[in-house]
Symmetry: C2
Subunit: 413 residues, 2 copies
């Protein structure tokens, strides 16, 4: 922490906070709160999260439960598929050259092939997915033919290769079957089609959620919200309540978590014990972050396990999760630190103001192509997050956006 | 079906298919396949799906498992919250008028309040979320104050209402706490904050997935994919294999499903039994749809339960699910027939060609601001869906898009 918190700022620190303001400030043994200029930049925090790396892989079967899991490595094909050409739809296998000049007004007539191969002037009915008979190089669609007396009436010319799935179309030897990343339904289908039975995916992070507060409504609301957010981001949440500093220390030290998110008690009020507990049993790394809402967000390690301290106010907790902690959950699970949201461009209906030096998480409601910033009057209310369709970020080097500016909106999933 | 399948087309129908093409076509008892012009338009199918309505609501507890469930009704507030004004952050409760003229270079000094109310020239330390003491109308942030000897040194002026959560900010009596729609983490937090313990959500549709084919790799791949897609869309999948027409009929008739999706056997090949099974035990409504891939997609009802017949080829099955069946799953579950994807605008790198009269599902790979259409050579391959980041739809009245056209891409989740 040395370079980031030079000694002269300890005075400022001690002076701006006092647990019992009616007594004169002692200037001494206060745990350090962090002045604005010392809050960690989101980019620094993001770099730290990226250095955590992702968890080790585990092998799971290819089934529907694998949807959304993060493939740890590209899966490569050992053999081409299909091994030989196939019909792409129901129709008639034939030689394309035999259809030249055919039309609805002047159909050509082909003979039904007598054997299993297609000779000149011959055709054979094939079903979608069946092997293309030897000698054929195209499939005439059903709708371009009439199978009247005497053979097949060809009503349209087809090109060589039409309605044919060539050998190795799906994959050739060494091709990527499924690329490193989240497994989608179509990826699962392709793995199954190519007889891949098991895959190596990044283990899901076990995320301990610790309510560092008396059991009142707000921390419980924040805990429930974090539970749902962690699940959304692929983590396995485990919720705990730590009503006392001792319980909080125990929750930080007990094994079995890949990431610990403490909510509540992150500030510098008299009942805020999260930062001091982290300092006692672990190593604080960031004590305050240049984000808003959520300036009190802190991070460090206990016995090697990353720990983040989030605000207890539900809306600030949401913003801090979305800006910081969610990236850690996703990154440990293999998914990187980016936002899992869709984006859209929109025109701001009203200005967004932000202080220089902090990343602002501005909730907006989208209305057609315009975005209305919420929460100027109600910044501390969860309603600003509930009424929002998404958010606009104002970077640390910006004071915001004027009305009618075109901005990028991250849309809540 | 009357109006949509006029009698003269029965001839055309019978002529374009023949289970044993080496025998002359019988022109008689063939189950009707549908010529291009008679395929149902996606808008007609969508209107039919919308008439299915959504399932009845059920009451569930507000917990993390409720994430993504579809709230059946708006939840309204019975009481205002918070009932009285609160501090929005840690700081000092005071009267805003007492801070006029304060600055870092000329701080004003306020006395610590002796009682529980704030008089003129007085201040009191408050923590975020605590009730605002009577008499105060603003909270001075910690960073704008120094609590030195003799009282609070105010280094900045604050406006009335600054850092204050007014009474009823979160909700007033009768306000919407959570609106009809999918429950997000922040909605759950707000419900918990406002002590709403149970909510009424639309029941999840039970979706029976029937593989109407011999147990080979392709139907199994399509079944696995549909399983994952139905789960993605909030349904409860149940998979069955129907290797014979009799098993298929039994799967269509056995109770316990809100929607049945048959995959495979939807076409008019000799081994395609889905359409005839539906006609035998239920009422076909659409026999073929104007979509590509997936023209053979059909729909109807058996004992009042909606049934859809999807192609067995995995890529066509995916496209038909995304264009048609997914909307039915989501609509039954309360979520409407729209696509659950984010959208982005992109410039086409190559042209997309489509036949007039059908909705084309063109898979594209996005590369920065450009979109590359996939699958011109490999339309029948699942690779076009696996390599795609999303899809561009070409509507029935369009023949496609020229290169460099700006198009909307639906991005796969």
């Amino acid at each position: 922490m040395g370079g980031r918190f030079p000694p002269f700022q300890r005075w400022h620190v001690a002076c701006t906070r006092s647990p019992h303001p009616r007594r004169p400030c002692t200037f001494v043994e206060e745990p350090a709160a962090i002045p604005t200029s010392d809050r960690a930049l989101p980019a620094e925090v993001c770099a730290w999260i990226e250095r955590l790396g992702s968890l080790e892989p585990e092998v799971i079967p290819v089934n529907a439960a694998a949807r959304g899991r993060w493939l740890a490595h590209d899966v490569l094909a050992g053999e081409p598929f299909p091994p030989a050409a196939r019909a792409a739809e129901n129709g008639y296998a034939l030689r394309a050259e035999d259809t030249v000049g055919a039309s609805a007004y002047g159909p050509l007539v082909l003979r039904w092939a007598a054997g299993s191969t297609i000779g000149r002037g011959e055709a054979m009915s094939v079903t979608s997915g069946a092997a293309l008979p030897e000698g054929a190089d195209a499939v005439l669609p059903l709708e371009d033919a009439e199978s009247g007396g005497g053979g097949l009436h060809v009503c349209a010319a087809v090109a060589a290769g039409a309605q044919v799935i060539p050998a190795a179309l799906e994959v050739d030897r060494g091709d990527v079957i499924a690329a490193c990343g989240a497994l989608r339904p179509q990826d699962l289908a392709r793995l199954r089609l190519l007889a891949v039975e098991r895959v190596s995916v990044v283990r899901r992070p076990r995320v301990r959620l610790v309510a560092a507060a008396a059991p009142t409504a707000a921390p419980d609301a924040a805990g429930l919200m974090l539970d749902a957010l962690v699940q959304r981001d692929g983590g396995l949440p485990e919720r705990r309540l730590a009503a006392t500093p001792e319980e909080l220390q125990a929750a930080l030290q007990s094994p079995g978590a890949d990431l610990i998110l403490v909510h509540g008690g992150s500030g510098d009020g008299p009942n805020d014990h999260a930062a001091s507990a982290l300092a006692r049993v672990g190593t604080p790394v960031f004590s305050g972050m240049a984000i808003h809402p959520g300036e009190s967000t802190a991070a460090g390690r206990v016995d090697g396990v990353p720990v983040m301290l989030l605000p207890g106010t539900p809306v600030a907790c949401l913003c801090a999760y979305e800006m910081i902690a969610g990236g850690a959950v996703r990154h440990l699970g293999g998914g990187g630190t980016g936002w899992p949201y869709g984006m859209r461009r929109a025109i701001l209906r009203r200005k967004i103001a932000s202080r220089l030096g902090r990343l602002e998480f501005c909730r907006v409601r989208c209305d057609g192509v315009t975005a209305v910033p919420l929460g100027i009057a109600a910044a501390g209310a969860l309603r600003t997050a509930v009424e929002a369709d998404g958010f606009v970020l104002v970077d640390v080097d910006s004071e915001g956006y004027a009305p009618d500016t075109e901005v990028s909106v991250h849309v809540f999933p």
